[in-house]
Amino acid sequence: MLHTNLNLRSSSSAQRGAALAVVVHVVLLLAVLGQTVYLASRHRVRVDLTSEQLWSSSESTRTLLEKLDQRLVVEAYFSPQEKLPVTFRESRKWAESFLDELVQLGKGKVVLQRFDPNADDSVKKRAERVGVKPLQLTNSSTTSLSVDVHWQGLRLVYGGGKQKVLSQFLPSSSFVAEAMLTPAVKELVTVQRRKFGYMEWPVTAVGQQTPGGIGWNVLRSHEGISKRYEFQNLKDEDGALLPDDVDTLFLFRPKDLTDRQKYVLDQFVVRGGTLVAFVDAAEYAIGPQRTFSKIPLQLDATGSKQPFLGQLLHYGIEWKPKLVADMAQRAMSPRDPLQAPYEYFAAPQLDQFGRQRMVPIAYPYFFHPLPVDWKTSASELAKDASGKVDETAAASFRERFVAGMPSDEFLFQSFKNAGRGPGFYWPTWVGLREKAGGKPDLPPDVEGRVHLWSSPAALVEDPPQMVNPFGGARDAIQRNTEYAKFATKLRERMGNEPRLQVPLMVEVKGKFSSVFAGQDRPKRPSEIKEEEAKKAEAAVVDDPNTPEDESKQDGPPAPAKDDKKGKAADKPAVQEPPMRTTGDRPGRIVVVGDADFLRDDIVRGDLAQGGGPVSGSMAAPFFAQMLDWLAEDRDLVALQSRSATDRTLRFVADTGATAADARATEKALRDKTSMLRWSNVLLPTGLLTVLGFVVLIVRRAQKRSFLASLR
């Protein structure tokens, strides 16, 4: 009995001991594994699997940090992460992650200093003083309402002097963090701003109180641009030659050009300058009413002998002052079709509940180039009404058609990734000078290429008086009728006119000869006045009837007819260098067939309320990257090309066909989506089900035969 009790006692104590051993074992194992995970997180290897390396810093950041010759102090005004609401905590994670990477890449040149403005009042005051803005977030519960103040801003100080403040640094990914921070660092390390000259001819403001018209100042004065580039207005009424320190000149919608102005431009490109012109064939009134009626625009000033078109042709650029429309549906689809502000054209329509809302409508005069190799669509475009391919036409298309963005220049990289170029508004034809047969015919020592093309569904016409798709109709029914007429007319033209692609941006470079060679140099207005004054003086001297001394005459002295003239006559003539007839250095001319997409009101979004157009999200990066491209500043190239690749799903291929039958397209799309969806759901599940049935039947047969063998 005693023996049994002892056995039981020892057995239960052994069980307790074993249980304790298991518990200790598990706890120790947990500790070891926890430590392993912790150590692994401290010494980790990270591989970014995305093709565009979206989660890693780009070459731009690395190159810039290598260029730092002074210390870059990053003051991070961050309130504690654990107090942040969950929506901002992710952002903090990306911010911290990128800042850590920045410090590592900086190799001692980048110093990160953290401050918590919520913990120290003096730090808070300093944060406010330098321009860091707090996030004030309302926190409400059933019993209380409070406003929580959080901080997440940065101040970058370079070399103890130059500084840049990011008042709120709230990236949504490490990629966005880099896109915010790296350009800021670039601004700080930029020692000397590159100088660009410009001349602009403001747009007539319709229904707005804009003195002097609408210009192109918004983009030029954009903070990210103006910190790195300096713009100087060189539109001199007296037509002075451009200063030697200006090597790039922008023309924004040139018009009323005098021969003297053309001479200034000529001498500029002949001496090796870079001329960039944003041109329009016509000016249309937009304004609040969006009448889209033509406003007179004359390219050459009255009395000008040298046409500007001829001048460009001389350099190898053919500008046909026509209006271009692109009927390819994808080309005129806005970037975000459902969201205001409307990139292209939206009009009020009544929805099913009778509410009026803005709906984007197809307007082929507003479109963008597409990075599509249109040769591949040749067969599709050569189909006749019955769907049969005209092989001769297809072969001709394959020979003629080119990619919408054929250029490999870094300016276009991010646009190629985005799947579209900047949106143009009433663009015009700007291409290379061509011989008969369509081959380029460039001057000697000049090479050129077209950078942007429309789709092969382009229509070209002389600028009509009115391009309003609603024809000025006020009510919805009338508008619909007018729009149907407008669309039918364009479709008919599409059916009757040959398929062609229109060049929209062209570049020529090389040693240009002067278009004024062999002619007299056009004189400056002041020179003309001076000569006139001299002539008048000479005429007075030569006139025998003129008294020698008018003051001796009786009566009051005659008033000076033109005092300025007299002054001009007194002024010594300005010595101008002789005309350069041939270039000793290569110049460069870039012409873009639209100026509207960069103008202030369209970039700024002034017309957003009325249904657009608003170009800011595409025009601003285009202009900024164009400046880098012209300046050959490749520091931010890797950053720009990191913009997300266009991964848009297209179940119905865009062949450049017109938007003729939207309903048929929609039905085809619906059918295809449905087919793809159900095949994806049913194929694997059906496969498993069929296999299951097969196994079941085989098993049953096996069972039956087994039972039969037993009998």
């Binding site: 074993a18 298991v22 074992h25 598990v26 194992l29 947990l30 594994l33 392993t36 995970v37 692994a40 997180s41 980790r44 290897v45 990270r46 591989v47 970014d48 699997l49 995305t50 093709s51 565009e52 979206l54 989660w55 504690p80 992460q81 654990e82 107090k83 609401p85 969950v86 905590r89 992710e90 690749t645 266009d646 991964r647 848009t648 799903l649 297209r650 179940f651 119905v652 799309l669 989506t673 793809l676 969806r677 095949s679 994806n680 759901v681 194929l683 694997p684 599940t685 496969l687 498993l688 089900t689 296999l691 299951g692 196994v695 079941l696 098993r699």
Partner: protein, 244 residues
């Protein structure tokens, strides 16, 4: 190793000779693909499997316990566990073999969903490396769930209890990594503790790999997580064998 492979093969065959694999697989794929294609196969949308990989963890929460509930509980109920213990294999090999079989089965199911990325790739520029990374993350995530489910199955002979216990514990683990819960916990727990607790959740690491960043520490985490539960599973079976 060979023994582990033999156990795995036996277990896999047992899946496929019974209707379980087919019914379970068809149901899971049907639900997963039906809902995920609704958000991924949309004209004009980005060619991405984000919608698919958002649904997957949530579905695994229900389907994995249903798969693992029978692994040990059924053996115990049918009395075959004792028979298994007499085989010339160690308990670790048994556990690993069953675990590997379940993971291979789930991997086969994932392979059957490859039609979706292929479709997306045909109609848009699908970024394949992160997609393959997401598949790897899904497999690791599913493996961690299998390890937990197997552990609960070893504790009871009732399959329903095993399934419910696994489901509840996996749900808790899943929710520990949910940012909203983390925020709530922050209000009454010290930050370091919240960080430690949330770092237990496999969901957190799954999300990180699925977005396209493969981090060695995340792989170590999944290895440790699975290793811990499989070891605990082996301990339970060991104790049971010792008790006779």
């Amino acid at each position: 190793m060979r023994e582990t492979f033999v156990v795995m093969r036996r277990e896999l065959v047992s899946y496929f000779v019974s209707p379980i694999a087919y019914v379970f697989g068809a149901l899971m794929l049907g639900v997963l693909l039906y809902y995920s294609t609704e958000v991924t196969l949309v004209q004009g949308a980005r060619a991405s499997l984000d919608g698919f990989f958002q649904w997957l963890p949530f579905l695994l929460l229900f389907f994995v316990p249903a798969l693992t509930m029978r692994l040990w509980a059924e053996e115990r109920k049918l009395g075959t566990l004792e028979l298994l213990m007499t085989f010339p294999v160690t308990i670790r090999q048994l556990v690993l073999g069953k675990f590997a079989a379940a993971v291979v089965y789930l991997a086969l199911l994932l392979v059957l969903t490859l039609g979706l990325p292929i479709t997306l790739g045909a109609y848009g520029k699908l970024d394949w490396p992160p997609v393959l990374g997401s598949y790897l993350a899904s497999l690791l995530f599913a493996s961690s769930f299998v390890a937990v489910g197997m552990f609960w199955s070893s504790l009871t002979r009732d399959q329903i209890i095993a399934m419910l216990a696994a489901m509840v514990s996996l749900f808790v683990l899943y929710q520990l990594g949910n940012p909203q819960n983390v925020e709530y916990a922050n209000e009454w727990m010290p930050a370091w503790l919240v960080d430690v607790v949330s770092s237990i959740s496999p969901h957190r690491y799954f999300v990180s790999i699925a977005r396209g960043v493969l981090d060695s520490s995340h792989l170590v985490y999944f290895l440790c997580f699975c290793g811990f539960f499989l070891h605990a599973n082996a301990l339970v079976l060991q104790a049971r064998r010792q008790r006779g």
